[in-house]
């Protein structure tokens, strides 16, 4: 059974989704989905420990040997990504908003769970597969289900947000497909490892360059790299908060991983940075994303949109990690994938708790939150500290490596920019702090119970607590990513 783990972690949630449609009733579906997601998480952990023990795992789907058959290939790096994604997926699903959610979602809860499981299957599939067309298939599975998830938001504007994400996401996916098609035309193979062998002879051709461009732009849309981020604030802002929590911690992160994988193991750093000079585009765009995203976050009135703009800035850190093209920088980027994932998901869950207690997502409506919902408000503060990158939080670890990577290249100015941009995070986190702790609570907030139900608080603090633990103890993050990065920079998984 353990040798089938690479496929099981994808197939389990994939097949569980239609089952939850059959179950239909709310509570059994919830129990079922929880079982499946936590089992999937267990599977990814087992898979990662297998990789740690025995090295890269290759799995031929249906017994068809690669490169003809579809290959699932798990190395240290994507083993790490799988664990990160399934962890966030399982914890966020545990978060129960029944008490706070609106009628339409309550009536069709089983649809929510089905879409959630599909989305999780798609995201895990993207990370696990070693076949470039398979990546596209899973990309579409995760995207289509995430459009459905976003449209379940309470306000009607969730529908337009989902629609505009659908348009942007489809363009992105089409770009990816075009890129894949061109690669196939040039090399006649879809297997990533095989592509890496066959691509260098034709690397100079215009088709290859254009293929890379399509892939990079398509994936950049999905991960909201500035200036292709327009869909994200509305999508995260109007989706149900736990959907935002799930997508913020996983969707953009998996697209980031796919970009890293294609860039370093298929095209190779030599081609991308030596010939194409990707860093000349990516560094300015990353910096713009970091500053524009953070500045925009400062001026948001809705906490969900504030977090969404902050995500755009954080994606900037991750892409900066790629463009530094050295071990420290890429370590920073990949570690940030996990660190920012748990932090941002935890923050969205904290926002959901606050909204449940105080009935508002707007910062103005959260006056006195520190008194009325002390644990949720404090969770937001701790998560905010991790966004800033205060030492002792996960955000600090990633920033440390990014700055180190910049210094390694001799770019002092870039190190300064990274640190300055993290100061902007202080401004938007402290907007919340001042309202939550310095303003008298409004009348609405009076007379309700002080604490949120455990089904809300426990998952929130699970993620926020992890953001603190991984700030002090990095064996499982840096300890795994560091050797993985050495391999990636040599072009293998």
């Amino acid at each position: 059974m353990t040798e089938h783990l690479p496929v099981l972690i994808v197939v389990t949630p994939l097949l569980a989704a239609p089952v939850s449609l059959l179950l239909r009733r709310g509570d059994p579906v919830r129990v079922w989905s929880l079982l499946v997601t936590w089992a999937t998480f267990g599977g990814t952990v087992a898979l990662l420990s297998q990789v740690l023990d025995r090295g890269t795992v290759s799995y031929a789907l249906g017994g068809w040997a690669p490169p003809l058959g579809i290959e699932y290939r798990v190395g240290l790096a994507n083993g790490f990504v799988l664990v990160a994604v399934s962890f966030v997926g399982a914890v966020v699903l545990t978060f129960d908003t029944r008490a706070g959610s609106s009628r339409p979602t309550r009536a069709r809860r089983y649809l929510y769970y089905a879409a959630y499981l599909l989305c999780l299957a798609g995201l895990l599939g993207m990370a696990v597969t070693g076949d470039v067309f398979n990546i596209f298939v899973f990309l579409e599975i995760s995207s289509l289900s995430s459009y459905a998830l976003i449209s379940m938001g309470e306000q009607r504007r969730a529908l337009t947000a989902a629609y505009s994400y659908l348009i942007m996401g489809t363009i992105g996916a089409t770009f990816v497909l075009l890129g894949i098609g061109m690669l196939y035309a040039m090399t006649g193979t879809l297997n990533l490892a095989d592509l890496a062998v066959r691509l260098p002879p034709v690397a100079g051709s215009r088709t290859t360059v254009v293929a890379f461009g399509f892939l990079a732009v398509g994936l950049s849309i999905k991960m909201a790299v500035f200036p292709l981020h327009q869909w994200l604030p509305n999508a995260y802002g109007f989706a149900p908060p736990k959907v935002s929590a799930f997508l913020a911690g996983t969707a953009t992160k998996v697209s980031y991983w796919v970009l890293v994988r294609i860039l370093f193991t298929v095209f190779g750093a030599g081609f991308v940075f030596g010939t194409l000079h990707l860093e000349r585009f990516l560094i300015p765009l990353s910096l713009l994303g970091m500053f524009v995203g953070s500045l925009a976050a400062i001026y948001q009135d809705d906490l969900r949109r504030l977090l969404a703009y902050s995500s755009i800035a954080q994606v900037g850190y991750m892409t900066l990690g790629i463009s530094l093209n050295n071990p420290e920088g890429l370590t920073g980027g990949l570690v940030h994938l996990f660190n920012h994932g748990i932090t941002k998901s935890g923050l969205f869950l904290a926002v959901a708790c606050l909204a449940y207690r105080l009935g508002s997502f707007r910062i103005d409506g959260l006056a006195g939150a520190g008194r009325r919902a002390p644990l949720a408000a404090f969770a937001f503060v701790v998560g905010g500290l991790s966004l800033i990158g205060v030492p002792g939080t996960a955000g600090f670890v990633s920033k440390w490596y990014l700055v180190l990577g910049a210094l390694e290249r001799g770019w002092w100015w870039l190190a300064v920019m990274i640190l300055l941009s993290s100061l902007l995070a202080v401004a938007y986190v402290w907007r919340f702090v001042e309202v939550a702790y310095f303003r008298e609570p409004g009348q609405l907030a009076l007379g309700q119970p002080r604490f949120e139900p455990p089904a809300m608080l426990v998952p929130t603090w699970c993620l926020i607590g992890a953001a603190v633990v991984f700030g002090f103890w990095t064996d499982l993050t840096v300890g795994i990513v560091r050797p993985a990065v050495e391999l990636l920079l040599r072009g293998t998984l």
Binding site: I388, W400, V403, V416, L419, S422, L423, V426, Y437, R482
Partner: protein
Amino acid sequence: MSGALLAPQAALPVALAAPLLCAAGVGVLGARPNLRDGFTVAASVVTFLAVCSLWPAVAAGEPVELDLWPVLEGVTLGFAVEPLGLLFGLIASGLWILTSLYAFGYMRGHHERHQTRFFVCFAVAIGAALGIAFSRNLLTLFMFYEALTFSTYPLVTHHETEEARRAGRVYLGVLVSTSIAFLLLAVIGTWRLAGTLELRPGGILGPASDAAAWTLLALFVFGIAKAAVMPFHRWLPAAMVAPTPVSALLHAVAVVKAGVFTVLKVALSVFGLERLRALGSGLLEGTGPLLLVASFTIVSASIVALRQDNLKRRLAYSTISQLSYIVVGALLATSAGALGAGLHILTHAVGKITLFFCAGAIMVAAHETEISRMGGLGRRMPFTFLAFLLASLSIIGLPPFAGAWSKWFLVLGALDAGQQWVVGVLLLSSLLNVAYLLPIPVAAFFGKPPAPLEEGIHEAPWLCVGPLLATALLCLVLFLWIDPWLGLLEGITG
């Protein structure tokens, strides 16, 4: 400081953990004030005794270390006790006991709200200060440095008023932005240049170029804004909106001393005095420009202090000025200078905490904050103003008070370094100290009240007056009892 109560290896974890346990215990006992406050005192005594138990081992040169686990590759969350850190730890934990007692009198006398949160954050802040004192590498130090900033924010903004909110913005804004933009860059830069973050007497920089070393030094001096070198001093006067025990222990001792301690420690253990001297010491080369900035801070903060009518703000500017003495001592890069700087951490702490205790006692007893209205008050509160006088004399640096020793060694250090002009700065500053400190007790004893004093104004509760008399007395005692401290600090210059 005779025989150790605890084995040194056991005392270090106790000293580090006791404040945090205290915070947890205070949080749990919040509903029962007497038990809660008793617990704080017990924890502070345990902390102080644990720190004291480290003395014999440190004096004998035995290593006392505690390594927890690696945080980043090659950098461990770890602690090692050395003389300077022990000195700072003793000051912070010893004065914590007195401040706790004082705080009970003050917070209850003043009917402050949220006392549980107050004492929780207070204990965390002391824990962070001890973490800084005993850090064995720059990463650990930086972590506790930031923890100190964030744990004191709720204390500064304790009153939750609009004024407190604005002061909190300045406090956090200056401290966090300098620490992330400059200090963190300096730490990572050190890692890049030296390949280690270990704090070792004699320095770790090795073959780094002079330009790089100079840049690092500037980043450190300005990045450690807790040392309040201008232009990054604004947070300290802002922090005065906090309840007085916070101003007394944190903003005259723990927080600001953590800043100058870090500067001194960086000078000694990242650069090493030789390396600093090698940078050059002319006015416009090497440490010269930074010395100029620190000297400017000494003089101009004193001049600003002259013009403040609010007692706590005047003391805050006086603190800014006195902190730069220590920065100057570190930048002089001579043994005597470093010794003077280390001693000044001790002597200024004792003197300044007394002055703040007095300011708080006056506030509790007479509800007075403005100096111009304190005339004649000394006849109603003789002990408080006597203590104020003694502590002022110590800050000015007159014998027979402790402050005389540190100024003496600082002057020696300046002469050794061949920087005669620094001696002039120190003398000028002492004159300014006289001008802004002495008129206060003099007017209180001999002046006339601006308006007839209300009946019933008398000394503050004994829980307030007792501690301030104790620290005032300590200013005297330390003058006579300076040898053990000199002996302790002798080793720091490597």
